[in-house]
Structures are given as C-alpha cells and as structure tokens.
C-alpha cells in the first residue's frame, strides 16, 4: 500500500480493492463480510433495534480515543440505550485524498477492538475518496442493528417520585475535545469518557432492576437528556446541583472557559431513571464499573416539562437546553 490514500483508492478498481482488503477486511473479517456480496444477509431473532450516526470529530485522535472508537461506541451505545445487544454494523468512510494510510489502519484497528467489546461485527461497508478539501480528513458513518433484550425503555415513562442517576462523572469528552482543539495546555489527566456501554447495560438488565428511561448524554450533554425527558413525560426533573459528579480537570476547563459540565458532550456516560425502590440497587450496580456513579435527582411535578437545579443554599433555577455554537463537531 502507498503511504497516503489517493483518489485512485476510491476508483472501484484495483487500488480500491487493495485498500478494502488490506485495511478493512483485514481487521473486520467475519463470515458475512467475507462473502463480499452486494448486501449482507442476517439472521435476526425477535424485536430488533436499529440506529445510525455519522462521525466528523476533529481532531481525529484525542486523549483516550479516536474517531474509530467513537464511530463504534456511538452507534452501539444508541442500541444499548434501547436495551438492545449490538450485533451487526455497517461502516462507510469518506476519506480526504492524501490521508495517511497508517492513521487509517490505526483507526480501523480501534474500531475492531471496540466491536469485540460489544460482541458485534461489521457486515457491510463502503469507501469513498474525495479531493483535498472536500472533507476534513475522514468522516465515518456507522449503522447498527441489535437484538432487544429489555423492552419498554422510553423517554415518555417518567413518573413522580422516580430516581435519576448517572453512571459516572460527566463532561469528560467535551472537555477533552475542546482542550485538544483549542490547544489548551493543561497539566491534567483529562481523557474522553468514550466507551461501549452495552456491558454496563447488560449488568443492569441481569440485576433485575426496572429500567424506566436510559439515554447516553452525547451532544447537548446531560442537560439535553433531562430536558427531552421532562418534555416527553410532562414531568419536572429536579437535580441536586452538588450531587452531579464532575471530575476536577473537567470543572477546571468549565471554570476557565465559562462552560457548564451539564452542557458538555459525553461518549460513555448515560442517565438512568429507575423507580425509587430500585435506586440503591441501581447505584450499587453502576458503582461496580465507575465509583463516581451518583444519584443526582428525582422526578416531581413542580414545573411540568422543565428541569430544575437546586443549589445547596436553597435557591433553584431552570436548566435549559444549551444553545448556539458551543463545541462544533465533537463527535
């Protein structure tokens, strides 16, 4: 292979085959993909979940992850958040002419690693190479299909008295990408939370906890998830501000740049709603993976369709959706 990807690698001919076989097939190989048919033929049992996402993050490599890991986690997590086990993925890449072959392979390798964590495989793919400037280095789209293992998770089922939890400290991905992009040099161990969530969901399901609502707090952060739920369920979500777990380095970035951690994107953080009676058990299960998991609030009827932050000194305010250009292209 040449050291960089050229327009010829997208020609559908010999160079194209070389790119596909020496990079994508080499790492993704499985019986379905290897057949190289026009479409993958799948065997599915019972209810099926499906989700798609495109990934355009800049920079491509960042502390704790890269666009490849993100592309698999992102789609698999969306499936997991509906109680589904990720099974099959497609992978389409659009590559800018001149992109480094070695970097491409590195990205594909980290996709494979993440697929294995989920127990999923890539069964179909596409590669396009476009002239310099037509895309920013590399964009990836993945679409995933999963088998539903737990039914009934919904944004519309929140009821008064239920408990709201997060599986870990929030905002790490947004803060990491922002400092990488802006070249903010901080002495910190800040790294993205990017991770596959299916293993954690599996444990939750197996523990017998009633999962009312579950959503990963990607773009728009925790505040977007809570606002969507409050509206969809016509309830008030009340959050105790001091309970929200935020690691020191993320808080530092927020203080410096005037962000709020609840607005920052995450790629391995979810919000969970369970009945009050399950809250302790849920917290115990979540803390097996992340010590920072926390019970952050409850569902009430105080202001329908709104999210409220309560302070430790007895004041309250609405938590609205983040607006404007906060962090463009973080995923």
């Amino acid at each position: 292979m040449t050291k960089t990807i050229t327009l010829a690698h997208g020609n559908g001919g010999e160079e194209n085959n070389e790119l596909i076989s020496k990079i994508f097939y080499k790492h993704f190989k499985n019986d379905i993909l290897n057949k190289s048919e026009d479409a993958a033929i799948l065997e599915l049992n019972g209810k099926t979940a499906m989700s798609t996402d495109s990934f355009t993050v800049s920079p491509l490599f960042f502390n704790g992850g890269d666009i490849g890991k993100l592309a698999v986690c992102g789609t698999c997590n969306d499936l997991a958040m509906m109680g589904a086990k990720p099974k099959y993925l497609t992978c389409s890449v659009i590559i800018e002419e001149g992109f480094s072959t070695r970097e491409l392979e590195k990205i594909v390798r980290s996709m494979k690693k993440e697929l294995d964590i989920n127990g999923a495989m890539v069964v179909s793919g596409d590669t396009k190479v476009v002239p310099r400037g037509a895309v920013d280095k590399l964009f990836i789209n993945t679409t995933g299909i999963g088998e539903v293992e737990y039914e009934g998770i919904s944004a519309s089922n929140l009821k008064e008295g239920m408990s709201v939890l997060v599986n870990r400290d929030i905002g790490a991905h947004g803060a990491t990408i922002f400092s990488a992009r802006e070249g903010i040099e901080l002495e910190s161990n800040l790294e993205t939370d990017c991770a596959s969530l299916y293993p954690q969901v599996k444990v939750l399901i197996e523990s017998g906890i009633e999962i009312v609502a579950l959503r990963d707090a990607t773009r728009g952060g925790v505040s977007a998830v809570l606002n969507e739920w409050a509206k969809a369920s016509a309830v008030c979500v009340e959050i105790e501000e001091e309970k929200i777990p935020v690691q020191e380095s993320v808080r530092g970035i927020c203080e410096m740049l005037g962000f709020e951690a609840v607005d920052l994107a995450n790629e391995g953080t979810f919000v969970l709603v369970v009945p009050k009676s399950d809250e302790e058990k849920a917290l115990e299960v979540l803390r097996k993976t992340h010590e920072s998991a926390e019970l952050i609030g409850t569902v009430s009827m105080q202001y329908e369709g709104k999210v409220i932050l309560n302070s430790s000194w007895g004041t309250k305010r609405f938590l609205d959706l983040p607006t404007g250009e906060l962090l463009p292209r973080i995923c």
């Binding site: 802006e182 020191e248 302070s311 305010r317 609405f318």
Partner: protein, 381 residues
C-alpha cells in the same frame, strides 16, 4: 505543603452554609433600612453570578439589583459590529477576535455568518495567538478586533508592544476597549442629548473586581465622594457577591458612603501599575464612544495613540468601514434596563422575538447581558 488545587480557588466561595449565613446577616441588617436600596452590579460577570446562583431568591424585598452595562459584547453599537464583518470580508484578511463576538448580529449578519460565507474569522482566548497566526500566514493581514473593559486592555497592549518590538508587519488592530468609571458617571448623570432621563434608581455599585485587579480600586474614588454612591469592589463567586452586598447594606444602615474592597485577596488600591503604564504607552482616550443602548459616553473608549496609526485598522480601512450610526429596534428597552428603570420581563419582545438565539437588543446578545441571564436562569423569579 499541600499542593494548591484548582478547586481551592472556588470551592469555599460556593459553600452553601456560608452563603446562607450571609443571607441571614443581610436580612437582619436590611430590617434597619429606611428605604429600599437598588444596587447596580456594573459588570456582566456579576449579573451572570447573581442569576446563575439564584442570589435574588436569598435577598429581602428591600434589597434589589439593577443590572449594569458591563458586558463588552453587549455594548458594541451595531455599526462597530459591522466594522468587524466588513473587515473580515476584505481580501487577504484574517479577522481575529475573542469568542464572545461570534454571534453578535450586525446589520449584515454576525461573524459566524461571515465565516459561513468564506471569511477567515478566528476566535482566540489570548490575543497573543495573533502572532502565531501572522507568522503562519505571511501574505495575509491579521486584524485583531479588540474588545473588553480594563480587564482585557492590557492583553491587547502587550500584543501591540510585541508587534512593534518584533517588527511584525502584518498584524493590525481595531480597538473597541472601553472603561467602566465613565459609563457609571453617565448612568448617574447622563449628558447625552438622546437621553432625557436623570431619574436613575441606582443607590450603590458593586464594582467588578477583575477591572480593579488592573486599574485598582482608586478608579471608584469619586462615586462616594462626588456622587453619594457607595462602591464595594467585589469578586465573582457567590460568597464574594453575598459578602459585597452585605457590605453595601451595612454602609446604608450605618449611614456611611465609602469605597470598600471585598475582593481583598487580589485587589488593592493602586492596581497593576505595570499594566497601566503599558496601556498608557499605546492607548489614548477617544472623546466619545457610542454605547449600544446608552448612546455617546464621553471619554469612555480607547484608541491607539497617533504615533501608532500605521497599525490602526480603523484608519487603514476607513474607506470601506461604515460610519453611520445604527439605532436598535424601537421596541427594545435595553437603555432603560441598563439605567435600572425597567426589568427584562417588562420588555414586550423579551423571550418572544428577542431570544439568545435571535437577539434583537444588546442585553440579549452575550451570556453576560442582563436579558440573556434572565432568559437562561431568571424565569423562576
């Protein structure tokens, strides 16, 4: 010695028990007030703190806030925002400014819109980044569109200094630095022909501490002396703000009218003399600066000194820069809000036609503007 962590700089200043204790002290003292008092927090940073942390919910009915004009983005008149837009659209120009400027709409659109149309607009956290941009783009003209109060002026002055020392020939400046005391005078004692109101409601000022880190507490001397308004230079954390408010209430209760510093951990009377000297070296007062929502305020703006005219983008590009003054929408009452004569909710377009995503008036433009803070945090009050 234990290492100082970042959280040490704010954790205790957000302590719930301390905040509640100040609320009790203020409530107790306020019972002795002869009449209600209105405190103007001059700075948008304070407005943000007050609203974000819900401080009005902790104060008695006879202690009120008036939200001042101290948001450098909000007070930029539209014609100057148009300058930024026009400059960014010039051939071979890279326009560099601070992040807050991005979404402020001028008459042609915002810098965000200019960028979408192909202009090279960059947002930086430190003006010094201009040097790197200029070195990487030797054939381009890098224009630093400088905004801000006394707090950010020294950073621009350092950049000017470096550009001259290093003989960098492709960095230019569009200066929009403004100063706090002059606009405070204007608010109490308006001399603008467009403004007929002398009936402002301001009884005291919460002075922005970051301005005084540079300029010292001394810039407020005249307010207790000549205008009968106490000033307490105050920090930006909620405990700071509550202590500052408490100090003001005590002055009224004890019938004092003084300049005090709450933010003693950083602010002193004289300020940063080195920074002041650098500002003095490169900048001089403009006779008038037009503030959005307030009109012309004498001696409130800075410009590059005559001898540095070769670096002044406002002079170099004067042929393309619009000069006509552009008034705000006639329904907008930002001017009244800044004088404490109205609250954001009293505006007929607040939260309807005028929102943070589509700001019509100055106070909705930046997160530090009074209307934007009310929109974001204030709807529980």
């Amino acid at each position: 010695m234990a290492e100082l962590e970042l959280k040490n700089l704010y954790d205790n200043f957000r302590d719930g028990e301390t905040i509640k204790a100040y609320a009790r002290i203020i409530a107790e003292d306020a019972k002795k007030l002869k009449k209600p008092i209105n405190i103007m927090e001059v700075c948008g940073g304070h407005t943000h703190t007050i609203m974000k942390f819900g401080l009005p919910q902790l104060l008695p009915d006879n202690v009120n806030f008036i939200h001042g004009p101290g948001c450098p983005v909000c007070i930029m008149p539209k014609e100057r925002i148009d300058h930024a837009y026009v400059l960014s659209m010039q051939k071979d120009v890279i326009l560099v400014t601070l992040g807050d400027m991005i979404k402020v709409p001028g008459s042609n659109g915002s810098l965000q819109d200019a960028r979408a149309k192909g202009a090279d607009v960059r947002f930086v956290y430190s003006p010094m980044e201009c040097i790197k941009i200029a070195e990487e783009n030797p054939s381009k003209k890098v224009i630093f569109f400088a905004i801000g109060f006394e707090t950010t002026t020294p950073m621009t002055a350092v950049l000017v200094d470096q550009v001259i020392q290093k003989e960098i020939n492709n960095i230019f400046f569009h200066i929009n630095h403004v100063t706090v005391p002059e606009v405070m005078v204007e608010l109490i004692d308006s001399r603008d022909v467009h403004v007929d109101s002398y009936n402002n409601q301001i009884d005291a000022f919460l002075g922005p501490s970051h301005v005084s880190v540079i300029a010292g507490a001394k810039i407020y001397d005249k307010f207790p002396k000549d205008y009968g308004r106490p000033v307490v230079v105050t920090g930006f954390e909620p405990v700071d703000a509550m202590q500052g408010i408490s100090m003001i209430v005590k002055q009224f209760v004890e019938a004092r009218c003084e300049l005090e510093v709450q933010y003693k951990r950083v602010v002193n009377y004289d300020g940063n003399l080195k920074a002041q000297a650098l500002i003095e070296q490169y900048f001089e007062k403009m006779s008038l600066f037009r503030w959005r929502g307030l009109g012309n305020v004498p001696d409130s703006g800075l410009k590059l000194r005559e001898e540095f005219v070769d670096y002044d983008a406002e002079v170099l590009f004067k042929d393309v820069l619009p000069i006509a003054e552009i008034e705000d929408h006639k329904l907008c009452i930002c001017g009244d809000i800044l004088r404490g004569m109205a609250k954001p909710q009293e505006c007929t377009i607040f939260g309807t036609a005028c929102k943070p995503t589509t700001p019509i008036g100055s106070c909705m433009v930046s997160s530090e503007g009074a209307c934007a803070a009310y929109y974001k945090y204030g709807n529980l009050l």
